[in-house]
Subunit: 483 residues, 2 copies
């Protein structure tokens, strides 16, 4: 029975969330705020108990999950962890409304970082810790999915991996995947320890270092400070976070190659080169623009701020060191352009992803050659090998659906009486898992003013974006439910 | 010699423009404004003279134009007619700056309707007539191109025609094309007469009726009135223009089918159904929104205004009967969404075009089926027949390049110090040949405040959009110039 396999997997995930719900208890103990212990301990125990009972009851139904159930499992697990993860906020009265708590938690697990909080620093630290931890878990979750599950499901990410290692049969891929996933977890953990230490060296407290690290590596963007990373006037701290944001937006397989010294494979990766190129060029233009317009007194400071904000938006992290809504038009337009790109495939970043954009741009320019030589055959190369036609089709489908949901979300949000720019940037910021946008959802604003219906809708859009649209959308097709 | 063939074709076009430059002379005579006669007579005579001399000198070099020269010819002819058509404005001091005059004329011939004029009604009528006539010529020109030339060049429009009439060899297509083009000219002329008469019946003067008809049928949008069609408080006049805008945004081959009673072929056309569906649904939602928010006192009035504005933006005409920048967010968001769609292929409308959007959306949803049944083969149907893979590729290339130039234009315009919303809607409004946008280029604003450099850049973008990107872009590829 497929239903039991999915139930067992969900139960396992519930158990894991139950265990992680104990970590804020430690924070509460250290902070001497025992009044918040129960807010986490109760849902933790309930989760672990239910998980154990379900696993025990369905023990005889163990079995593999087929690709089709995989789609359902992925969507249901993101909903489950958000539904459960929202409970402590309500129990502890940190976020009284369950709608708000669910939005905030889904925003956390999808690494969007869109917040309904108006006074972040007023929230007790166990809740701030849990809020940032949802980022970290969601970020790790998506990398594992991108590497382990998406390829099997035939979704964008998967195809892109296949494109890179041409022609592996699925079995070979599967056996390699478990090993790869383990390595990527180790890298993620290692980077977490490293960034935390580097931030502490710059004078940040352990709590702030950990929570900011969670937000950075997951490209999440929740900060325990009202003014985000702008709270710290330290160039060192800002630069450390800039560098780790860039790393988090890079395909994690590239980190592995870097660590194992396979530089030639690194250099052959079209996406990595394009990603770093976009970052550097944008940072430079924006830096000069900020300097010329007199936003910052010198070029070095301008480049620091432009580098931070470019990395933050390109990787879809969403941290801010300045209110970029007040920056000159050109800088804003560049950030706006970044919102259409996103991080790399196999990273924790969201958005359309660099590889999809360069693939289709290459395809677009190749079509020009066909106009001149209609009878010739031209191939599009990606990462040194031929880009398969089926991959181009998948990417095309993804991009058009992405645009479709972008426009749909704009219209739906506008129904709430929001301005055009607010509506469109809300769509970009939620579907692309960025967090902040422009106007009403700018870096100094938040999502508290949306109606409950819109908050639920945006929660869905955040999940849709995080799970690469198809994973979720396929569940709405009648064919999915036909046996 | 290919060079001579192109030169001869350009000379012929110059001669035709020279003849049309005589029509404002008639207006000047009727208006008893002889001081403006020379502004048109001189460039007219010069054009006709140069045309005749060039044609005579190259008489022995007559020959066919091959597809490759076709690309060059199309782009050069749009530049030539704009360069020549701009001269009277400068000679008559109606637009003192040649940059402004060129922008206005390119905006006319590309049927964009973006204007640098701040006081339209202050302009003498011969110039207003010429300004509107550029629309009419450009609109007719693009329909002929779409039907006659683009198919041969293998550009979007062509492919779409091919998709509809499956598998014709190029020769059969060519022989059919001359006949089709003639029929379409007749339809265009017939509609011009009909709309002019209907507007005059509603009390509009002959001059106003003609100029507004030119702007309507070309989906151009230039009006001789400061407040566009909003100048006339007549529901009848507004509704007539609404209907003709919708007709102008329809594939002209559909008009032919309608006139010859081939309704079944009409009904089989996916694009027509989608186009009318989008128009009706958007008009209804927007109408109810305008009524509910109290913008207009009753539902009928609200629907009249929503119908007019939806048709105007969807077909990329750009006329306005109200300052929609002051409308509620939902109505604005719907108009914004329309800006991403555009008219039908083979119409005078600009933008991405409905057929491209439905083709890729169908492709996108088909990809979902592949996720569930990776080994099956699914076909995408368009107009009752299979959508060819090569067509999907061309459309994909077009859409990604369209998005690319949209973002690029946004960034370039922002360099001029414009706000984000102004920059982005300028990009949408010029590349999509719409005309008005939001914020700084809203319906009550104009393009006068841009710097000369940006005006030249936007002139290029208008041409790029009008000629379906590839026609122009292919000229920048090194392979084009290799023999
Ligand atoms: K984010
Ligand atoms: K227009």
């Amino acid at each position: 029975m497929k239903g039991f396999a999915i139930t067992r997997a969900l139960a396992a995930i519930l158990g894991i969330i139950g265990l992680f719900l104990l970590t804020p208890v430690i924070v509460a103990v250290f902070d001497s705020t025992p009044e918040f212990i129960m807010s986490f301990f109760l849902p933790s125990m309930a989760s672990i108990l239910i998980s154990a009972v379900v696993l025990w009851l369905t023990w005889s139904y163990r079995g593999d999950i087929n690709p089709r159930s995989g789609f359902l499992l992925v969507s249901l697990s993101w909903i489950l962890v958000s539904a459960v993860g929202a409970v402590p906020f309500v129990l502890g009265d940190a976020i009284p409304s369950y709608t708000d708590a669910f939005f905030e938690t889904m925003s956390g697990f999808t690494t969007t970082g869109a917040s309904i909080l108006t006074e972040i620093e007023a929230m007790p630290r166990p809740f701030l810790f849990w809020r940032s931890l949802t980022h970290w878990l969601g970020g790790m979750g998506i990398v594992v999915l991108a590497v382990a599950l998406f390829p099997l499901l035939g979704i964008g990410g998967l195809q892109l991996m296949k494109a890179e290692a041409p022609g592996p049969d699925v079995d070979r891929l599967t056996s390699r995947i478990t090993g790869t996933a383990k390595i990527l977890w180790m890298i993620y953990l290692g980077m977490t320890v490293l960034e935390t230490l580097l931030l502490m060296l710059g004078g940040m407290s352990l709590f702030d270092s950990l929570t900011h690290t969670f937000g950075t590596l997951a490209t999440g963007g929740f900060s325990p400070k009202n003014s985000s990373v702008g709270h710290y006037n330290s160039p060192y701290l800002q630069n450390v976070i800039t560098i780790f944001m860039v790393l988090a937006g890079t395909n994690f397989i590239m980190h592995y190659r870097l660590l194992t010294g396979r530089f030639r494979l690194l250099w052959r990766n079209s996406e990595l080169k394009a990603y770093l190129g976009i970052f550097i060029v944008t940072m430079l233009i924006m830096g000069f623009n900020l300097y010329r317009e007199g936003v910052y007194p010198d070029l070095a400071t301008s480049l620091r701020f432009s580098g931070f904000q470019t990395a933050s938006i390109l990787t879809t992290t969403g941290y801010a060191t300045a209110d970029f809504a007040l920056w000159p038009g050109l800088s804003q337009a560049l950030l706006f352009a970044m919102m259409f790109i996103g991080g790399s495939a196999g990273s924790t970043g969201g958005g359309v992803k660099v590889v999809r954009i360069i693939s289709l741009l290459k395809q677009g320019f190749t079509e020009m050659k066909y106009l001149l030589h209609p009878r010739s055959v031209f191939t599009v190369k990606l990462n040194g090998s031929r880009l398969k036609k089926s991959v181009v089709y998948t990417i095309t489908g993804f991009i058009i659906l992405y645009m479709f949901f972008l426009i749909l979300t704009t219209v739906v949000v506008a129904m709430d009486g929001k301005s055009l720019l607010t509506s469109f940037s809300t769509a970009l910021a939620t579907l692309g898992n960025i967090g902040p946008g422009f106007a009403g959802v700018g870096p100094t604003e938040n999502y508290s003013s949306f109606s409950p219906a819109i908050k639920w809708f945006l929660s869905f859009i955040m999940m849709l974006g995080r799970l690469e649209i198809y994973t979720v959308l396929v569940l709405f097709s009648p064919q999915f439910w036909r046996r």
